[in-house]
Amino acid sequence: MIVVRAPLRISFVGGGTDIPAFYTRYPGRVLSTAIDKYVYVVLNRTPLIDKVSARYSISETVGHPSELHHTRIRAALLDAGIVNGIELASFASLPAKTGLGSSSTFSVALVKALNAYQGRKINKREAAEAASRLEIELLGEPIGKQDQYASAFGGMNVLQFNSDHSVDVKPVLIGYKTRLAMEERMLVFYTGITRDASSVLTEEKANIDRKFETMKEMADSVSKAEAMVLKGDFEALGNALNQGWLAKKTLASNISNQTIDSLYTAGVHAGGWGGKLLGAGSGGCLMFLAPLEKKVAVRHAVAQAANAAGLADFREIPVHFVQAGVEVLHNSDDGGPEPA
């Protein structure tokens, strides 16, 4: 059996500049951190059972991976040439579509696990690339690479997306005092509204010519935001997030909506420095940076707005930053029986 875990991520600035339509014209940049919420993928070799089993929100058992409903598992198994004798399950700390990169995090854990299953120990970069290839090339999803890299590498990083499609990962080397101070000033709320990143990103992609200058500013704001983090100036970062969020909303009509705006405004009016919706837009999680003495007020104001909007699944999610990226936690797989 093989157990792999990969962390979800929070992206602070630059999200959206990781798609080829942008970074082939201007370097994309994202500042993000891995958090202590994980996706786990478990694989088990079943040489005596000629089936493929996949267990996630539902359970599928089929004779050949091409019959699977789960697109990523199907594509990954077919690509790896694994046709039967395998059980695969996934577990997660949070539901899907929260804007914390869960679907790409799943892909990162999946490709790491399948490689281990085939006797290959791939490194973080290889895992990020393999997951990106699975999603973007094999499945044609209109997404970027920031989530795959953020999850595979772990820690807080500035990711740079170059015109030759390479990605530079520069760790933001903050000590525990700065890290804990930032965590303490951060509030993350799950809105209870789920969305599919692809629909937002498709419109965003179509708008790219019109919005190129805005995206350039977003990419350029990353180094300023990085400097604020290194200095521990979270008020400045909160203000920058506020500006970034207002800029991002202009990229596609469906990035925000009235409900999300009402929650966001409530948080800022209650004393939050600023924040943003996490992920591509339309739903997911809302994150704020706020002074310590205003945290309780922000928490109440946002909860009240959520209540007024009838968001039944709304809740606060406690978050800590983590250094660990994608990792094999357990591997007792024996490589299977020798070919007869």
């Binding site: 120990k121 791939i122 490194n123 760790p171 525990y176 990226g325």
Partner: protein, 200 residues
């Protein structure tokens, strides 16, 4: 005598003023990630470096958590390699001296682990063999080297090179001792902070 003492301490001070800050920060991150996944840390070196390795294992496992020994969900798991004298002599006598670290490391190594290799020259064959094994397994390597860094500095993920003229073992090992204590103190303060703030 006075002159000798000040010359030596000046040399050590100079190397300490030029420590590779970013690489030490990377090493701290590697250890932090290892703690989060409850992996193990294997530390080794030859001669004086083996003494530093032994000292460090004790600091990582015990000193870091000293102020609140039972308050943590788990503690670091560091192991000095080889962990017994019998293994050193068995590998050296039966297989060869260049296998005294790589041999025992092969018994333990798992994906979630970390290796700390200490070598002033960075070129001791037994060190580089073990580091190559770690790399083959994609296990992160923290390399503490001296002089021009040698092969260890090329292979390590966190390249902690104390740059000196070749042969300045005493200076290099003194700086390595300081780096060991610096990293120990970072985590000691960090874990103290976590526990003491939780109690409030």
């Amino acid at each position: 005598m006075r002159e000798f003492i000040s010359e030596f301490s000046e040399k050590v001070q100079e190397t300490l003023q030029h420590l590779p800050v970013e690489e030490i920060a990377k090493a701290i991150n590697i250890l932090q990630a290892c703690y989060e996944r409850d992996g193990r840390i294997y530390v080794f070196g030859n001669g004086g470096s083996l003494a530093i390795a032994t000292h460090w294992v004790s600091d990582i496992n015990k000193t870091i958590f000293s102020h609140h020994l039972s308050a943590h969900s788990h503690r670091f798991q560091a192991v000095r390699l080889p962990s017994t004298e019998s293994e050193i002599t068995a590998w050296a006598n039966d297989v060869g001296y260049d296998m005294i670290f790589a041999g025992p490391l092969q018994n333990y190594i798992q994906d979630s682990d970390v290796v700390i290799a200490i070598s002033s020259s960075g070129n001791s064959l037994n060190i580089t063999k073990a580091v190559e094994l770690a790399r083959k397994n994609n296990v992160p390597v923290i390399g503490l080297s001296g002089f021009d860094g040698g092969r260890l500095n090329e292979l390590a993920d966190a390249k902690i090179l104390v740059k000196t003229e070749t042969g300045q073992y005493e200076v290099v090992e003194s700086a390595h001792g300081t780096i060991m204590h610096l990293i120990t103190k970072y985590f000691k303060d960090y874990f103290d902070h976590i526990i003491e703030n939780r109690a409030q």
